[in-house]
Amino acid sequence: MMSPEIVLQTQGLSKQFKRRWAVKDLNLEIFQGDVFGFLGPNGAGKSTTIRMLLSLIRPTSGTIKLFDEPLTVSKHDALRRVGGIVEKPDFYLYLSAFQNLEIVGALYGNVARARMMEVLDLVGLKDRAFDRVKTYSHGMKQRLGIAQALLSDPELVILDEPTSGLDPQGMKEVRDLILYLARDQEKTIFLSSHLLSEIELVANRMAIINRGELIVQGEVSRLLEEGEQYVMIRAEPIRKARAILNRLKKIVRSVSDAGENLKVVMSFDDIPAVNHSLVRGGVAVHAIVPRRSLEEYFLALTEQSLAAGSDMSHSNKSQKK
């Protein structure tokens, strides 16, 4: 079986603003058909990366390949096959959604009126097509942002925090749209977000970035398996529960306090045995909640990264001394 084509590849991609590295030595690979989650906390360098991918800013060093061609060599051909939103979608507010799409369409050469109405219909804005964008809600602007990204029927769709500021229903609609684009329209999606649960729901591959540096990259399912499994236990009396858990050395790897709960690092397979031991020991068990989500994994990684950064900063200070 042939391996899928690499749609987007960055090698050693870096961007320095004055003395600060916003992105440093970033190596990404996005394959055809991927819904690629690009995760990172605020200020991690996600938008800077996307701005470089869409040629809004120049990398300080490193290369970007789109469809196997360096972006510097075939920028126009590559950008013709890419659509995107960078940060919050902004428009000419005094123009209608349709006029905004006409302006974007003009930059591609010739986009038919029918295509403009088609993308507006896809995001549920067909009825408001000729209203001025300044009358739109935030959610409608986000949807219009997706519409303009899809206008040229691109192969790669880059979406920077597309659910930012949306209500839960709006977030679900955008997620459903992303899945529709990936499955039914066979588009490759590059989705940045700091909402990790969102990535977990739609992405098949992902990368986590923090402080401009890549922390991990791979298949979401594989990364999940690598993540630490633990359970949150609420029980009374808590001291007795802690003592029992500490005695289960073959099952429990560690026990720590987490507010009114105990955080117990262990395999989910051993939950019945742990529950049995607690009940038999006279502990009232209120809840045992298994936790193994990408969010936890992400938080753990970013916390590690922050700690490393902090250590490094301490180390630098020590060296200065």
Binding site: L56, K75, L79, I103, L107
Partner: protein, 280 residues
Amino acid sequence: MSMVRLVRYEAVKTFLKKRTYLGFLIVALIVPIVEVSMKIEGGRFLQAATRSLQQDFILVGNLFNGWFVAHYLMYSLWFHIPLLITFVAGDQLAGEATAGTYRLILTRPVSRTQIFFSKYVVILIYSVMFVAFLALLSIGLAVALLGGGNLLVFDKGILILPEAEVAYRFCAAYIFATWSIVTIASIAFFFSSFVENAIGPIVATMGLLIIFVIVSVLPLEVFEPIRPYLFAKHMNLWQEAFREPIGWKEIGWGMLVLGGYSTAAVVGAWWIFTRKDILS
């Protein structure tokens, strides 16, 4: 990518924006106010202006006419019209940064150079339209209200130009005025290329104009060598059209200097625009 198409959509963006008509609105208010006031005042304005001359000369005929008033209004080309022009020219690039719409247009398969020049062409169109509007309104209304006649011009003396030449001289004057207004627009466009709000280019352009005007008129020898090269020195180029004989040499030099400033401003703006990181 067709430049015609790009210019068309840049024109749509510019001419559907309310700010674009602010200058037109102000001119549409000021010109009738001034001309109707002058009509009401009658010849008293001219009498006051020529009081000292009337001790030695007898001025005959209808010299307080539409041409005289239209010529008087051309002095607004020194400062007022440049200010109004910068409202739009200064916003042309910076406005996209303010609105965040660079992200909408610069991520497409079209070069920044093409987008840049399509925007500049629209500014040229706007400048020409604006000066043409001022010309048509001020001359048309003044002649309609006060009639025609010979044109009395105060310059390094007093000059009365025959009515047969006046239209041609106004036409030439407004062509030269357009050239100087394009220079102002180009400078505002330059400042617009590296800031993210339109106020900066307006203030910077007008500040530069004021400084250069001061340097141009200060009777200090130290500025003598640079004066011919200051664009502000040539903002009154249009006045040459009302001299006898017409100062073609001065016009040629003035147009060269102004053209040099326009070219430098556009090349500088292009250099910045095509290389800048879009962070807005």
